[in-house]
Amino acid sequence: MRTALVLLLLLAAASVVGSLIPQHGVADPRIAAMELDHPLRYDIYEALGFFDVYGSVWFTLIYGLLLVSLVACLFPRTRALLRSIRSRPQPVHELDGFRHYAEREVAADPARAIARARKVLRRRFFRVSKTNGATRALAAEKGIAREAGSLIFHWSFFLILIGIALGKGTGFAGNAVIVEGETWTEAHANYDGNIVEGRFFNEAHTGLQLDVRDFQVTYREDGSAEDFVTRGEVTVPGNRAEPVEISVNHPAAVGGVKLYQFGFGWAPIVEVRDGSELIASRPVPFSQLASPPGADPRALPWNGVVRLPSLRPQVGIELSLWPDSSALVQFLETGESSPMLRPVDPVMTYVVYRGALRLKSVETSNELDKSALQVWKRGAVGLGGSEEIGNGLTISFPELREYTVLHVSRDRGVMIMLVAAVLVLAGLVAALYSSRRKLWVQAEPVETGTVLKVGGFALQRRMQFEEEFSRLVDELAGGSEKRAGIR
């Protein structure tokens, strides 16, 4: 017990470390900032696994030891419980030494009185001693659920471990960005690098195809989002297309993966022409900068970039989207941006850069690397309009679409976790809300019938047992006879 206690407190202390230091997958930008600002501290933390506490060697060691100590303590307890389930309570001789003791006279003869007591106690879910020969005494007990519950609770932790290992080990999770009207295929490359795959994941992505027909956000009067819904068709390879609807709190389960509504954004279609040749034409998923503390995140401007590496010199365009020109004017005059909720009469402002783009192999960032770029032109283009940039280049904004962000994951351990959770809870309730009670009854013949002697005690909740005991004594001494009399 002492080992378990110390390990539990250690587990708590280790978790505190994880909550104070930014963790991979939760606060990556803060880790990156630390790498720049405090390289020494970063190196130390990195070496100690402080950026991934819950997956680190020492955290695993703590709960590993906890589970080892758990096994060591559960085996003997389980064996003892099974033994006590198989055996029955044993009658004793002296009853008046127990904490609770009472005597009552009844009219029935001893054998009948004991038989009745047996029935009464059975009805109240007591386990009663065997009859063999003993017609004048019995022993009864209740509350084995306490120990059984505690054991179920503790054993469930192994089920949890299995659920985690199976689910995370063979599963994956990532985000898919899909513009309205486009079809997305579930495959490693299509997650834009933001996918986590389990150690035992065998690269068998499902290849299912999701054709997003429509994405809708409903807003309340105050401009906050009430709900967002993605509608479309999904095709599992080898099957027919089926309609699908995904909204917040209502994921879709298809072909072994689950699709969750995660986020959304604007994706204007941007076309660039070099003379009459169309050199770029695609929806550009815009994003918002991380919101500064205290700012209303909805009011931040939406930004996107278009890169044109085929031109000499190379050209990059930064774009910002505004719901209408008055919002743009307001921003230019006061620096305050207004929420881009509904496209009223949308306008994009652009800044065109010339120079070298310094592309990486996979370029998903919504920011240009400006180290080798110079500003060339600035301007604005409205929905349906076109603007000349210069040198024969024109930019146009034919259509505004939305994109949806879906969280896609496969976790085969979820059902196991759910079963484990139910067992944990049932075990705890049994262990903490029940109490063990023992009771003995003896019948001694007297001239007028029988004297019933009842003794007993409770291991927990003694105050409540006091009432229960006197109720039981009344019942054993013929509560039902009285009831029969009334009838």
């Binding site: 708590a12 999770a173 705890l428």
Partner: protein, 323 residues
């Protein structure tokens, strides 16, 4: 009624409850010191009136926001204080018949409500979409109930226990010293007791209003306080466990993962582990009594971090929670 009318009903009832609790608290302390039965009766009546008004405040708030009244820190805190008071009246007063602790409990509730009204007040507003699920409603109610009971056990009864047990130890030492001076045998040390033992000599009603200040000083005996703390925490533990599970189920449905070690999840886990540590300590030789109580205090600190620090300062998916 309109939203504005419901809002002002809610605020007025909240203030009325606060005032009733305040007066009741003072009367409870008076009763603790002087044991006048009438004072206790008035105190408990005022606390009950306050509770009814408080319930009205919460219901009216729900009517004003047109949703369940637990959607932001102000509402959580109000409901938490309500459950602390209700828990005290129903469990401690009615069931355990310990009547002297009302002042401390009400003090705690008043503090929670005052902090809520001063720092967290927000007009009624709808929930963000992710919170619009019945799992979150269940999760939050369970979390608040668990928090209220943990707070009662570890934040009110445990410090009182530690204080009282130190007094008793000092008194025992003094008695032993006096006895040694007289050359007599030293009195037997107070029995340790198993996990859930009744203290020797303590029976229902030993702390009845009529029974003036006992030899233990003003508070109930340390063992009664210890047992009260244990019972409350042991009762809260499965509720908290359920809250964590319901939260995980909701996270699975809303975000596609049942556990992500975000700050809220991490701290509710820490709180859970520390209180599991307390339950273990109560059953571990050499850890019963004061050492176990210190673990409970750590649990209370962790609960405060989970509740205030994480909700207010730390960013995570949970900070959608409307703060």
């Amino acid at each position: 009624m309109t939203i504005d009318q419901w809002t002002s009903v809610s605020r007025a009832a909240f203030t009325a409850a606060l005032v009733a609790y305040l007066v009741s608290m003072l009367l409870y302390f008076h009763f603790l010191a002087f044991r006048r039965k009438t004072v206790w009766k008035v105190a408990i009546a005022l606390a009950s009136i306050g509770l009814v008004s408080h319930i009205l405040a919460v219901v009216a708030r729900g009517m004003a926001a047109e949703r369940v009244p637990w959607g932001n820190m102000y509402e959580y805190s109000s409901l938490l204080a309500l459950l602390v008071v209700a828990g005290y009246l129903f469990i401690v007063e009615l069931r355990y018949r310990v009547h002297t602790l009302g002042g401390f409990v009400l003090g705690f509730a008043i503090l929670t409500m005052a902090v809520a009204a001063m720092f967290f007040y927000r007009g009624p507003a709808p929930l963000v979409p992710a919170l619009n699920s019945y799992w979150i409603k269940i999760h939050v109610v369970a979390a608040i109930t668990g928090s209220a009971l943990f707070a009662l056990g570890s934040g009110v009864f445990t410090p009182l226990y530690l204080w009282q047990s130190r007094r008793e130890r000092r008194r025992d030492e003094r008695l032993r010293a006096e006895a040694a001076e007289l050359g007599a045998k030293s009195p037997a040390p107070i029995m340790g007791g198993s996990l859930d033992d009744d203290p020797p000599g303590y029976e229902a009603g030993a702390d009845e209003p009529a029974a003036g200040p006992s030899r233990h000083g003003l508070l109930p005996p340390a063992e009664v306080l210890d047992r009260l703390a244990y019972r409350t925490i042991a009762f809260a533990f499965p509720i908290w466990t359920f809250a964590v599970i319901a939260g995980a189920i909701w996270a699975e449905r809303a975000w596609g993962r049942y556990w992500g070690w975000d700050p809220k999840e991490t701290w509710s886990f820490i709180t859970w582990v520390v209180f599991a540590g307390y339950l273990h300590a109560r059953a571990t030789a050499g850890w019963k009594g004061r050492k176990a109580a210190v673990v409970a205090l750590v649990g209370f600190a962790s609960l405060l971090v989970t509740y205030y620090v994480v909700n207010i300062w730390v960013v995570g998916l949970h900070s959608y929670k409307g703060f």
